[in-house]
């Protein structure tokens, strides 16, 4: 990622952002793709969405089903809403606390989808992912999002 990337705490509990315009365009695009994926009926059984909306019970399918019926729509709406905030504020230099929260959630959700597709494990060799033409692009985006979520987590005030 560019050395010009900087995310710092702002006085109001939000953050100030210094990011390349190209990175901002990429984030807006990824947020839009995440929204599309959540609404794509063909993608519902794919591993990325399965990890975004995991079963709420390890051993009780009925409990998991009940939870999905109870919470599923609200969870999808929340993730869509966070993605919409990222798209709307992609070029902002300051995020208020609510917008900061939306950025953290949405960029982390994109990491989860990309990371699941890349089959990220604790011992993943990233150099190999960067070298392989089939995974290079996703791996570069995953690494950039990892750095952004890390910076946001350190800069944003959790109170």
């Amino acid at each position: 990622m560019s050395r010009r990337t900087r995310i710092t705490s702002a006085g109001d509990g939000g953050v100030d952002l210094r990011l390349d315009p190209e990175l901002r365009e990429l984030l807006a695009s990824l947020a839009g793709q995440l929204s599309d994926l959540i609404d794509d009926p063909e993608a519902q059984d794919g591993p990325g969405l399965a990890r975004l909306f995991p079963p709420a019970s390890m051993d009780d399918p009925l409990e998991a089903l009940g939870f999905e019926q109870l919470m599923g729509d609200a969870l999808r709406a929340g993730k869509r809403e966070s993605a919409a905030v990222v798209r709307a504020t992609a070029h902002a230099t300051h995020l208020d606390p609510e917008q900061t929260l939306a950025w953290m959630r949405c960029l982390n959700d994109v990491r989860i989808v990309l990371g699941t597709r890349l089959d990220i494990a604790d011992d993943t060799d990233f150099e190999e992912l960067f070298r392989d033409p089939l995974t290079e692009q996703a791996a570069v985006m995953y690494a950039a999002l990892t750095e952004l979520v890390e910076m946001l987590s350190l800069a944003a005030d959790p109170r």
């Binding site: 990890r51 975004l52 909306f53 995991p54 079963p55 709420a56 019970s57 390890m58 051993d59 009780d60 409990e63 939870f67 109870l70 919470m71 609200a74 969870l75 929340g78 993730k79 929260l101 953290m104 959630r105 982390n108 959700d109 990491r111 989860i112 990371g115 699941t116 990220i120 494990a121 604790d122 993943t124 990892t146 979520v149 890390e150 987590s153 350190l154 944003a156 959790p158 109170r159």
Partner: protein, 96 residues
């Protein structure tokens, strides 16, 4: 058979099982969520001080899972929903 105690022992507070508090929320380790992010979520969602949030995050990371909340079923479902909203892998179950 043991002899009857001469004094009635006070139950350990931690061992008292409240009949209306039978559910727990578990967060599971995963290779994608960052330690800094998980710590932040625990602070934000549960209002934990940083030290407690970090300890729970380490428990998740090193032991594979940690109990982060307990209480009535509805409350635990709401916490699991909130944790899924943050992209954490959380489940609920009866505290057997």
């Amino acid at each position: 058979m043991s002899t009857a105690p001469t004094t009635i022992e006070e139950p350990d507070v931690d061992e008292v099982v409240e009949p209306d508090v039978p559910w727990i929320v578990i967060v599971w380790n995963d290779p994608i969520n960052l330690m800094s992010y998980v710590t932040w979520v625990f602070q934000k969602l549960f209002g934990f001080p940083r030290e407690k949030a970090e300890q729970l995050m380490w428990d998740v990371h090193t032991k594979g899972k940690a109990v982060v909340a307990n209480g009535p079923r509805e409350r635990c479902e709401a916490y699991v929903g909130a944790l899924h909203g943050y992209g954490l892998w959380a489940t609920l179950q009866r505290d057997r």
